[in-house]
Symmetry: C2
Subunit: 223 residues, 2 copies
């Protein structure tokens, strides 16, 4: 449970609170472990918990009548989901599934509401988290509507390169399988493969999960 606290203490949800306060509150939280691709919450289901990812990744998705699913978001450790329930609402707007197995903390909405009533900074934190999600969702809509597959992949890669470096050569690892990344970008896995192939012309080399970017500036031109 050491990992649990170190992630929660750094989570944006509890920013601005001292360690003891966070630990006292999170001591009451349930921690659950999910196997690979296990369902965590179902879209439309009665909502009672706000979640925080401790370990692994969680996919948020919405599905249509025929059952096909679209990924809305991929949550990393420290990210919350269902936090919008704090402002009211009684059901989940999306499904959530673990990616390759994940560990998440569950906070009862009522508990978190009481806690936020006591420590107003929590409300500010939730606001900030929702703003980030909202602006991210808007970017996603604009990206889907304006950019080609290769352009979307290029902007994802740029966002993963630390903002500081520009002309230098950069290497990093994709945080999850390519199939998951494809879903996040609204692409079929095949389209992601082809986009990576196309970006070779912009100095991008992909070896497994390892990505080598020759020049961020060059990549920025591709997008």
């Amino acid at each position: 449970m050491l990992a649990k606290n170190s992630v929660l203490l750094q989570s944006d949800l509890f920013a601005g609170l001292d360690q003891a306060t966070v630990e006292q509150f999170t001591a009451t939280a349930e921690v659950r472990t999910f196997a690979a691709d296990e369902k965590i919450i179902a879209e439309g289901q009665q909502a009672s918990f706000v979640y925080c990812v401790l370990n692994g990744f969680v996919r948020l998705s919405k599905s249509e009548s025929a059952g096909r699913e679209a990924d809305i978001c991929v949550c990393e450790p420290g990210d919350t989901f269902g936090e919008y329930l704090l402002a009211g609402g009684d059901s989940y707007a999306y499904s959530a599934r673990s990616v390759d197995g994940a560990e998440v903390a569950l906070f009862a909405v009522t508990d978190l509401q009481a806690f936020a009533g006591q420590y107003p900074v929590v409300h500010r934190n939730v606001m900030r988290i929702m703003v980030r999600h909202l602006l991210g969702a808007m970017d996603c809509i604009a990206g889907d509507r304006l950019l080609t597959a290769a352009q979307r992949v290029a902007s994802y890669l740029i966002s993963r390169c630390s903002a500081s470096t520009t002309t230098t050569r950069i290497t990093f690892r994709l945080p999850y399988r390519k199939r998951i990344l494809a879903g996040k970008l609204g692409l079929a896995p095949e389209a992601l493969s082809r986009a990576f192939a196309a970006l070779a012309a912009s100095g991008v080399e992909v070896r497994g999960k390892l990505v080598l970017v020759d020049s961020v500036d060059l990549l920025r031109k591709a997008c």
Copy 2:
């Protein structure tokens, strides 16, 4: 200025406040009138105001490097935009343009922050507005990725039919030009035309801005 107050008083931003309080605060707000398709705010611009639409419609859009624009949202009277600034942030994340001319109220972020500090219900209201926007944006992403043009148009029409009626015949007017609706749905105007034509098979007839739906149930099956 009578219209101004009646819209603002009913706006979700000021829900739960008594009339006198709202009027006192909004008296300080600037009201501006914009011509057709006039720029209200520019993406990336230094942000200083939160806006509320009083009259007409406002298009929010993001643009890519080459200059093409994608509509993110169409705001109606009573809707706010830029409200996310209350949680921090110093620039606009999207551009805003009047549709066929519009009247909007401007609230200085600092003024609104002070007002919200005095009346905490305003913070709750902003939270709720952002939740609505966030869930709407997520629906939009899922719709773009999962539904065909005709299906997206069908769900828009359904959302415009008062939730109560189901089997009855329904008539209503589109609130704005079809070009604007197409943009909101992420379609080229031609694609919207064709989608309407295709929905004739589901009992939808369109005469100018007038829409006649034979059966909402039938339409629901098309989507």
